[in-house]
């Protein structure tokens, strides 16, 4: 193969079916070796959208992100939580190693404001990561978010319902998450690079194992 063709093939917009795409943007190690192994570049894509499809809250979808969030919180930039369904609990975030000084929670009153907030946060370049719980998604708005993430070089994580798995999406990475006995079953629906057929199981750090201790006594 001559060198000019080689250089063309180095272009990040081109990938060959036989191999995983070269990561155009920097990636963020997930903290789970099994997951890093299937993600292009070996981590969460920065400057792109990641879609996490879940059937219900609480199966460990946040624990999947906390190692990367903890790493990001050492850098400048916000970790923006837009329209979270519940309260992100400060003590648990701190326990996961996330610097609370970088956590920003926004609770927009309307859907339109939610989209606006997510887009502004991604585009501003002031956010290391954006976690958004969006409703009423359409492809045009998603594409705007994807472009905003590219502009702001932010890691945009969208939590959406698993029934949207068959819909088209401009997100660079789409993962379907399902509970499994020994952690979280992750199916890669879309990634930059060839498809992944087998689901993989990520062993999450165990949460909430308390021993029978009285809180008053421990203080």
């Amino acid at each position: 193969m001559n060198s000019s063709l080689e250089s063309v093939l180095q272009h990040p917009g081109i990938w060959r079916g036989s191999q995983r795409a070269q990561a155009a943007e920097a990636v963020l190690p997930t903290g789970f070796a099994a997951l890093d192994a299937v993600l292009p570049g070996g981590g969460w894509p920065r400057g792109a959208l990641t879609e996490l499809l879940i059937r219900r809250q609480g199966i460990g979808e946040l624990r999947l992100l906390t190692p990367a969030l903890a790493r990001l919180s050492e850098e400048d930039g916000w970790l923006a939580w837009v329209a979270p369904p519940y309260v992100p609990y400060a003590a648990a975030l701190a326990a996961a190693g996330i610097d609370l000084a970088h956590v920003l929670v926004a609770k927009p009153a309307s859907d339109a404001d939610t989209w606006w907030t997510a887009e502004q946060a991604l585009r501003s370049g002031a956010c290391g990561a954006l976690l958004a719980w969006l409703r009423a998604a359409d492809e045009r708005r998603m594409r705007r978010l994807q472009l905003a993430a590219e502009t702001g070089r932010a890691w945009g994580v969208l939590f959406r319902h698993a029934r949207l798995a068959t819909e088209r999406s401009p997100a660079a990475l789409r993962l379907l998450l399902e509970p499994a006995s020994e952690g979280l079953a992750v199916r890669v629906l879309k990634r930059r690079g060839g498809p992944v057929n087998r689901p993989l199981v990520v062993a999450l750090p165990d949460a909430g194992r308390t021993t029978s201790v009285l809180s008053l006594a421990r203080s």
């Binding site: 624990r63 975030l93 194992r209």
Partner: protein, 467 residues
């Protein structure tokens, strides 16, 4: 010493026009000796044949729809003070030359502004932003620079010899002398400064007064001139009358943009920043609307204020038309100036505070917050929204990542308790008394919940999710 003189030749007109982008034919008239004469007029009026010195009635006959305003000397003085405040961004040595001039000592700040050419460019574009036009001239003596600017000779002169060569050609009418002296000079055939200089000094002083000789000496830089420097006011409050009533808040932005550079100059001069800004919109027969602007940290940059003002005004409804706006900085805080980079580092750095401010304007101040831990055993009291940047963080790995804002009654029999109990009894002193046993429970679908049994009622509740 190098002096920069600014002569605002259209000041009588600009105090009326600078609040709006375009306006119809407008003339400013002044009553002199029983007749009202036009002092200045804008381009639209000039196109109809109106000119300075014309009787106001004649001007009105020439231009259809001409608006004639009475000259407002007080407004001009206030405008000149505003300009002196604005000029504080360039140098701290600003001297006023009423009614329409400013003298800036710039010789000491050329390095700061990367040379005279750059300084002049900044001054010119800055003046355009605040809505004034000026003739600018530089000379080693303040009087000399002022005469050049008055004459419209826009040159930067460093050597006294060159200054003299130009000054001698200027007419004596530019001198700051009584009309009788100028007339007298004209009568003896001395129409330019050069003519005066060629006359015997002693005779000139005897006939026209020492003041004339002194002024000539000062202009040429032979005698130093003592000038009083402008002291900026302690507070910033600047009003701008709008040429026409404004009904839509966003349309106020143009006028606000005129005032923000003055604020920036004020803050630069004082080495300060503002964290709050107030825009007072005055209505006819109604209380004024006050639009407030808050910043995360003290700021000085007019561009940043303008951006947030734009967002704020876009979300403001005016109850009535506005005729005057007042920009007010209630409190200024010390803020060190930014250091310029020796090496050109990468720009376009993201500004986290700006994002925060923009979100707060659109979503409301309470809808955007950080989180921090609080020293309390009750889970709902152990966190709180944080507005500042310092966050308390007490880690507890037995807590769920999601906390339900209101505990949910739980009657699901399929829950399997996995660990616990963790007993929390607290809050008897403030009325929020809790007595609970917390457990980690797993529901049938793979989610792990944080549940508690209320020890008073015996009811079960879900309080968190280990997401």
């Amino acid at each position: 010493m190098l002096w920069l003189a600014l002569h605002f030749h259209s000041l009588p007109l600009e105090v009326f026009t600078r609040g709006a982008a375009v306006s119809g034919p407008l003339a400013v008239a002044e009553k002199l000796g029983g007749r009202t004469r036009v002092v200045a007029c804008n381009a639209a009026a000039e196109a109809c044949g109106v000119g300075a010195g014309m009787a106001a009635s004649a001007a009105q006959a020439l231009a259809d729809g001409l608006v004639v305003r009475q000259r407002d000397a007080l407004a001009e003085q206030a405008a000149l003070e505003g300009l002196a405040v604005w000029a504080g961004r360039f140098t701290s040595s600003v001297s006023m030359a009423p009614p329409a001039g400013l003298l800036l000592e710039v010789g000491t700040c050329l390095n700061l502004h990367r040379g005279l050419g750059n300084l002049l460019k900044m001054a010119r574009s800055g003046l355009e932003e605040v809505g004034y036009a000026a003739a600018m001239a530089c000379a080693p003596s303040s009087r000399g620079a002022w005469l050049l600017a008055r004459a419209g000779v826009e040159k930067a002169i460093h050597e006294p010899a060159r200054l003299e060569a130009i000054l001698v050609t200027l007419p004596v009418a530019l001198l700051d002398q009584p009309a009788g002296v100028v007339e007298g000079l004209d009568r003896i055939g001395a129409s330019s400064l050069g003519d005066c200089l060629r006359l015997p000094r002693a005779g000139l002083a005897r006939r026209f007064g020492q003041a004339l000789v002194d002024e000539l000496d000062r202009a040429l830089g032979r005698v130093p001139e003592a000038r009083a420097f402008f002291e900026p006011p302690a507070r910033f409050e600047r009003a701008l009358e709008l040429p026409a009533p404004v009904h839509v808040a966003e349309a106020l932005l143009f006028a606000v943009r005129r005032l923000l550079p003055e604020l920036e100059g004020f803050l630069t001069r004082r080495q300060a920043g503002v964290q709050e800004l107030e825009l007072v919109c005055r209505h006819e027969r109604r209380d004024a609307t006050v639009v407030k602007l808050g910043f995360v940290k003290p700021v000085r940059d007019a561009g940043r204020m303008q951006l947030l003002m734009h967002e704020t005004l876009g979300r403001t409804r005016l109850p009535a038309a506005v005729h005057t706006i007042v920009l007010r900085a209630p409190r200024v805080q010390p803020l060190a100036g930014a250091n310029a980079d020796l090496f050109r580092t990468q720009h376009g750095e993201a500004d986290g505070d700006l994002l925060l401010e923009r979100l707060r304007i659109r979503l409301g101040p309470d809808a955007v917050h950080g989180v921090e831990t609080a020293a309390d055993h009750r889970p709902e009291c152990a966190w709180r929204p944080a507005q500042g940047s310092k966050r308390a963080a007490a880690a507890n790995r037995h807590r769920p990542l999601w906390l339900l804002p209101d505990p949910l009654p739980c009657r699901d029999g399929r829950l399997k308790l996995q660990s616990g109990p963790e007993r929390i009894e607290s809050g008897w002193w403030d009325g929020g008394d809790v007595a609970r046993d917390y457990y980690v429970a797993e529901d049938g679908d793979g989610a792990r919940l944080w549940v508690y049994c209320d020890r008073v009622s015996g009811e079960w509740y879900v309080h968190g999710v280990f997401a």
